[in-house]
Symmetry: C2
Subunit: 159 residues, 2 copies
DNA sequence: AGTGATACTGAGAGTCGTTCTCAACCAGTG
DNA sequence: CACTGGTTGAGAACGACTCTCAGTATCACT
């Protein structure tokens, strides 16, 4: 793992970090690449991928696997948080509601794992998509293309 | 979504389901393909992928994204459950400890999402890898190759 | 300023997991 | 028996990502 001190802040890396910081959504690497090219048209995709990996490994960004196809997503919000992904528009919103420590400890005890972290993501319909699916006029809502994330685990109660 | 009644149980599909049911681990599609070929050598990879997608969409299997590279994993245990993934050997074990319903309801309320399900996965070291990493003689533990899943969110307490 | 060592970059090729295409096949139905 | 429509297998195609490599920038010394 590259150490923090060892990291040169080149213009390209700055540009990638800027884009990530400015992003309100959770862009894929390809989206980051596209946005960075607006300010640094000569940057290569390999540099963007390398830089994203570097930012992740030095703790300046988070990598997310939201299960929509293959593309990893990136998040400059490095505080521990989770996500809710909309089955309609594919949008992901941040959730700041940690799993109770007691539960983690209990799972560690039962499984024997030394647990260092976890990923939690919820699936469902965002408020916009709920409104437009009950609406006969299907207002597309906006952000992304429709992603067909089939529910991978079904909730066993209320919701 | 293909309906259950609509599903022909061809020999190929039976073979894939058999392999999945017999698997104690969480095989990737490529692993399923390899195992199915032992009994049905003429099967094509497209058929395996198609069948896995079919099984998932009809609720006969679960698709997992354990974040180790790109490959999706499959699980014939369709009951709601979560996973703990070992950073050492890449192995995933089942965790049967649901998130409290109250927490899900609270998140639904706060985010406005109509939550239909969730995915929770823990990361850490399995008992075997803990033993072999403290051991000077690094007993490899066994199942898989070493996967370098860099921690994507760090736990904020005890563990 | 000159010199070498080292890190970084961009282009393009390569890899990997997955999906698509398409002709051939098979199982029912009329 | 011919028709119809779902299913199959081979291979091409695709998207996301990584690797390779020559060229460039930056640093530490002199």
């Amino acid at each position: 793992m590259t150490d923090l001190a060892d990291l040169r802040l080149t213009p390209q890396r700055m540009a990638v970090l800027e884009v990530l910081r400015a992003a309100a959504d959770h862009p894929t690497a390809a989206e980051v690449y596209e946005r960075v090219r607006r300010s640094s048209p000569r940057i290569g995709s390999a540099t963007v991928y390398r830089t994203l990996a570097l930012l992740v490994s030095t703790g300046r960004a988070l990598e997310l696997n939201l299960g929509d196809g293959a593309a990893a997503r990136y998040d400059a919000n490095t505080c521990r948080h989770d996500h809710a992904v909309c089955d309609g528009c594919g949008r992901a919103v941040d959730i700041d509601h940690p799993v109770p420590d007691g539960m983690v400890a209990e799972i560690a005890r039962r499984s024997g794992f030394a647990i260092t972290g976890y990923d939690l993501q919820f699936r469902g319909m965002c408020p916009d998509c709920q409104a437009s699916s009950s609406d006969p006029a299907r207002a597309a809502g906006g952000t992304g293309p429709t992603v067909n994330t089939h529910a991978k685990g079904v909730l066993h109660a209320e919701a």
